[in-house]
Homo-oligomer: 188 residues x 2
DNA sequence: GCTCAAAAGCTAATGCCGTTAGCCTCGGGT
DNA sequence: ACCCGAGGCTAACGGCATTAGCTTTTGAGC
């Protein structure tokens, strides 16, 4: 082995800090290299190209998110678990809005791969409700849609009015919880 | 006036067609210019720069979306109107997935400006429910979150399982409709 | 019909970025 | 003591956005 200064993980670290501080638009190999104290081409020793860096970042973000949500859900079940899940999700987005936005910058297939764990957590959380196999899938998708939609919109400051977003999210949580209670397979 | 060959609107047209066919990643001034049969710098006679082009595209997309949703809601009220609104929204996304994805490429303040009309429609639609002024705002936000979240995820093919997305969306609609029925101001 | 100013096009040039090629240099294993 | 490969570097290319400055067209007013 030679100098162990940098590594793929370290590059991702630097890139994430950069995005946190300056937004997704500032993510450039030149900027990452500069922060890492290295010439731009040197990054290619650790990362295949910009696209791969984005994918690695997305995977890392998904992992962080899954971990937080996973431990938030631990020991709770049913409605309480759903509330904890949704709250933890938003807390993460509020803590790292740019990071969450970066999730949307990688081509979805790769993010999806990294997100399998999170989906697993959601599936497990919803198992408390008596839904048949296909209904759980639909329910997880609805949960994802609601939470992710809110997260994206809040992260990009799309809610303009002065009403408190905390209250809006409370309402969304109640909506989802109520919806899950009455969830039956769609008739069609 | 000189040759009226191009115009800001025409440039936006070309750009939208480009995005429809090749995705948001393909949006480049060079590509737009080539399609318009013009040299790249000529575009600057109609559009200030790439960022402005993106903003104009977003405004146009928002207008299209608002128009379709507006006419879908016409003559309906309450639950039926909400169902029509959500259905029209998704239909638009399915018809132009890349276009919908392009909405997220412009800095939100400008998209928001263009989206005021759509928010107005949603506010009007939800007036049928007996909500106080602040609750309507929260309700509109929840509706936006659910629909937009589903739209984004579907547009970027984030739903992997084989279950029918139509059925998932039915469930989401039922969830939202049920949620609106029981919407009370969050206590806190 | 002629004129001419401005609108709308063009070419050339600049600078940033991603990416590749090829070289140099450590430092750990033999 | 040697060597070899990991990990760094510089140089160079091509694509892109953007700017500067020129040329062409055209329609409005005479």
């Amino acid at each position: 082995m030679a100098r162990a200064a940098l590594s793929a993980a370290a590059v991702v670290d630097v890139a994430l800090r950069l995005v946190d501080e300056e937004g997704v638009g500032a993510l450039t190999l030149a900027a990452v290299a500069s922060r890492a104290g290295v010439a731009t081409p040197s990054l290619y020793k650790h990362v295949r190209n910009l696209a791969e860096l984005r994918a690695l970042m997305s995977a890392r973000i998904m992992d962080e998110l899954s971990e937080r949500i996973g431990s938030a859900v631990l020991g709770r079940s049913a409605d309480e678990a759903v509330r904890a899940l949704m709250t933890a999700w938003r807390d993460y987005v509020l803590a790292h809005p740019h990071r969450y936005a970066a999730l949307g910058q990688a081509p979805e297939p790769r993010v999806a791969e990294a997100g399998e764990r999170l989906i697993g957590i959601m599936l497990a959380t919803l198992r408390a409700y008596d839904l048949d196999d296909t209904s759980v899938i639909h329910a997880v998708r609805c949960l994802r849609a609601a939470v992710h939609g809110f997260a994206v919109l809040e992260a990009e400051r799309a809610f303009q009015r002065s009403e408190k977003l905390d209250e809006t999210y409370d309402m969304l949580i109640r909506m989802v919880v109520a919806g899950l209670a009455t969830a039956t397979p769609p008739r069609r």
